[in-house]
C-alpha cells in the first residue's frame, strides 16, 4: 500500500463544514488513481467528535492534532500543523475543499514547505505527471494545469464534487498527532466573534430574489423584499447595485460576492454578465425578469418573464 492522501477537515469549534465531505470524496478520487487510501486530519481538540463522519465518508484512518495552542481557528497555526503532518505522516498528497479557510490553510502550508499549491481543482488525472483542471475567473474559465511537486497540495472547487457516504456506521480509530508548533503561530488565531444573524443567509436560502441596475434605486428593492418574504427567501443583487450604494456588499452575488445555490433564483433587472452568472449558476432553476428579451440572463435562464419588474413582481406577490 502506498502512502495515503491526507484530507484536511474543516470545522468551526467542532462543527463540521459540509465542504469537508466534498474534500473527502475528492481525496478518494485521487487515492483510487494512486492505489492508496484516504486519511483525515483533524486540527484542534474540539474536532475529535468528527472522526466517525470522516470514516463514514471514506477515511481509512483519522489523525487528531489537539495541541493546546489550537484554542481556535488560525490560518498560520493550521498551516503549521499541516506542514508538520507532511513531515510526520509522509502522505502522497494533501487535499482540502476550496473554501476561504481551506484555500488559506493549504496556501500557508505550501508556503511553509516551499511547494506549489493548486487551488480550486475540479478534476485530477495522474499519469507520469499530475494534470488537473482548475477554475479561473471564479468559474468562468477552466485551466488545464501540470503540477511538478514532491508532495502535491490541492484544493477542490466548492460544489465541484458531491459528498458520498461510503461506509455508513463505521467507527474510527483516532491516532494522536503530536507536533511542536512555533510560538508565532498563535498571533493569527481567531480572538473574538460577532454574531450578526442566525437566520437565512444568501448562501443557504432556498429562494433568492436578485435585483440589478434595472431596479433603479434603493427604494425600488421594496418589491423584491415583498416577493422574497412571501416565498421565504432573501434578496440578493448585482455589483451595479452595490456600486451605486443601493444594497450592502453582503447582498452581492457573483465572482467577488457570494456564490448562491438556491432551489430558485429570480433575477430581476440583471443583464447576466459572466461575473454575476458564475455566482448564480449553481441555482437549481433560474427565472429571469427583464425588459430585454436578448439579455444574457434571459437567454441562459430556465424561465423568463419579459417586462418591467415593477409590473411583474407585485403581480406575482399578490398571487
Amino acid at each position: 500500500m502506498s502512502a495515503a492522501v491526507l484530507v484536511v477537515i474543516e470545522h468551526d469549534r467542532g462543527a463540521l463544514a459540509d465542504a469537508s465531505l466534498e474534500a473527502l470524496a475528492f481525496g478518494r478520487s485521487i487515492a483510487e488513481q494512486l492505489g492508496a487510501s484516504v486519511e483525515a486530519l483533524l486540527i484542534g481538540a474540539e474536532a475529535a467528535g468528527l472522526a466517525d463522519a470522516c470514516v463514514a465518508h471514506g477515511a481509512g484512518a483519522v489523525h487528531l492534532c489537539s495541541n493546546s495552542d489550537l484554542s481556535d481557528y488560525g490560518p498560520e497555526a493550521y498551516g503549521a500543523v499541516i506542514a508538520a503532518a507532511a513531515g510526520a505522516l509522509s502522505p502522497a498528497a494533501i487535499a482540502a475543499c476550496g473554501t476561504d479557510r481551506g484555500n488559506e490553510v493549504l496556501a500557508h502550508a505550501a508556503a511553509e514547505l516551499d511547494l506549489p499549491f493548486v487551488a480550486n481543482c475540479t478534476d485530477v488525472r495522474i499519469g507520469d505527471d499530475w494534470e488537473m483542471t482548475r477554475v479561473q475567473w471564479g468559474g468562468s474559465l477552466n485551466e488545464e494545469t501540470r503540477l511538478t511537486s514532491s508532495l502535491p497540495i490541492v484544493s477542490v472547487a466548492h460544489h465541484a464534487v458531491e459528498a458520498e457516504e461510503v461506509a455508513p456506521g463505521a467507527s474510527a480509530d483516532v491516532q494522536p498527532l503530536d507536533v511542536t508548533l512555533p510560538d508565532w503561530v498563535t498571533r493569527s488565531l481567531v480572538q473574538d466573534r460577532v454574531v450578526l444573524s442566525e437566520g437565512l443567509t444568501l448562501a443557504t436560502a432556498p429562494v433568492v430574489v436578485g435585483g440589478g441596475r434595472g431596479v433603479g434605486s434603493a427604494e425600488g428593492f421594496a418589491v423584491l423584499e415583498e416577493l422574497a418574504a412571501k416565498l421565504g427567501g432573501v434578496v440578493g443583487c448585482s455589483r451595479a447595485v452595490t456600486n451605486n450604494g443601493w444594497r450592502p456588499h453582503s447582498d452581492q452575488v457573483g465572482q467577488t460576492g457570494t456564490r448562491i445555490a438556491p432551489q430558485l433564483y429570480i433575477a430581476c433587472g440583471i443583464s447576466g454578465a459572466i461575473q454575476h452568472w458564475v455566482g448564480a449558476k449553481a441555482a437549481k432553476k433560474i427565472l429571469a425578469v427583464n425588459t430585454d428579451p436578448a439579455a444574457n440572463m434571459v437567454v441562459k435562464a430556465d424561465y423568463a418573464v419579459i417586462g418591467d419588474l415593477f409590473d411583474v413582481l407585485p403581480a406575482i406577490t399578490n398571487g
Binding site: 496556501a107 480550486n120 412571501k230 467577488t256
Partner: protein, 262 residues
C-alpha cells in the same frame, strides 16, 4: 503609517470571456483592462489608512509594462508611490510571482522604510490562485489572514484588528503590526478620481524593476471555456399578465404557500 498594496492588471471581459486560438490567454482584443474589485478596495483602504494615521501609500504590481495604467489609476485616487516589476506579457505562476514580489518589497523597504501593513486582494481576478499574498507574507515573516472585510487600527497603532465574514456573523483577528491582509470587495467603497488626482497620476514616477525569480511547480497548459448547460428558456409571458404562470411554476417547485404573507 506605511501601507503597500499589491495589484494585478487583468483584462475586463464582458458577457463572456474569449480565449486566444492557442488557448494560452484571454483574448483581450477590444477589451479594456482593470484589476480585481478586491484590489480596488485594497487601494481605497490604503488611502483611508494614510488619511487617518498619516504616512505614505505605495502600489506594487508585477506584469507587462502596460500595468503602468493600474499604477496611475492608484495614484489618481491618492496612492503616493508606485513600483512595476516588468516581466513582459507571459503570465507567471504563483510561486514565481510571490518570490519576485517579496524581493521587490524588500528593496522598497530598504530604500523607504518598513511597511506597517501590506494589503493584497483575497484572490486575483483571472488566475485566482488564492496564495500569492500568503506566500509573500510568510517569506517576510509577517502574520497574514485572508478574506478580510473590516479593519481597525487599535492599541495605539500596535495591532490591526481584522474582521472576516462567516455564515453567522464576523470572526475577529488581532494581528500585531507589521502584518499583511488579503481583503474582499465590500471592505471599502472605492472613490472616483478627482481632477487633482488625475493630475497627480500624470506626474507619478513609476519605479521600474525586473526579476530573475525561478519558475514554480505549476505550469498552465491551456485554457478552456467550461461547457455551458444549454437550456431552452421557457418564456412564461409578458408583463403582469405572466403572474399566473409564475405562480403555477412556484407551486410546481413547492415554493408557494397559499395564504402566506401579503
Amino acid at each position: 503609517m506605511r501601507v503597500l498594496v499589491c495589484v494585478k492588471r487583468v483584462p475586463a471581459p464582458g458577457a463572456k470571456i474569449n480565449i486566444t486560438e492557442d488557448g494560452q490567454a484571454v483574448d483581450a482584443t477590444n477589451l479594456g483592462h482593470t484589476m480585481s474589485p478586491h484590489e480596488e478596495c485594497a487601494l481605497e483602504l490604503a488611502v483611508q489608512l494614510v488619511e487617518a494615521h498619516g504616512g505614505e501609500s505605495h502600489v506594487l504590481t508585477l506584469g507587462e509594462a502596460a500595468a503602468d495604467e493600474q499604477c496611475r489609476w492608484a495614484a489618481s485616487i491618492g496612492v503616493n508611490k508606485a513600483t512595476l516589476v516588468d516581466v513582459g506579457t507571459q503570465g507567471w505562476d504563483p510561486q514565481r510571482t510571490a518570490t519576485a514580489l517579496t524581493h521587490a518589497v524588500r528593496s522598497i523597504e530598504a530604500a523607504d522604510g518598513a511597511f506597517d501593513v501590506i494589503i493584497f486582494g483575497n484572490e486575483s481576478a483571472d488566475t485566482g490562485g488564492f496564495q500569492v499574498g500568503i506566500r509573500v507574507a510568510r517569506a517576510l515573516e509577517r502574520p497574514m489572514v485572508n478574506a478580510i472585510k473590516g479593519v481597525d487600527i487599535v492599541d495605539d497603532g500596535a495591532v490591526l484588528e481584522a474582521r472576516r465574514e462567516t455564515d453567522a456573523g464576523m470572526e475577529v483577528f488581532r494581528l500585531p503590526m507589521p502584518c499583511a491582509i488579503g481583503v474582499k470587495e465590500g471592505i471599502t467603497w472605492p472613490r472616483y478620481p478627482t481632477m487633482r488626482g488625475r493630475l497627480a497620476s500624470k506626474k507619478l514616477v513609476v519605479e521600474q524593476q525586473t526579476s530573475d525569480a525561478a519558475q514554480g511547480g505549476q505550469t498552465m497548459v491551456r485554457l478552456n471555456r467550461p461547457e455551458e448547460k444549454v437550456s431552452e428558456t421557457v418564456i412564461l409571458g409578458h408583463g403582469a399578465d405572466a403572474a399566473p404562470a409564475v405562480v403555477e411554476l412556484l407551486k410546481e417547485l413547492g415554493l408557494w404557500t397559499e395564504g402566506a404573507a401579503s
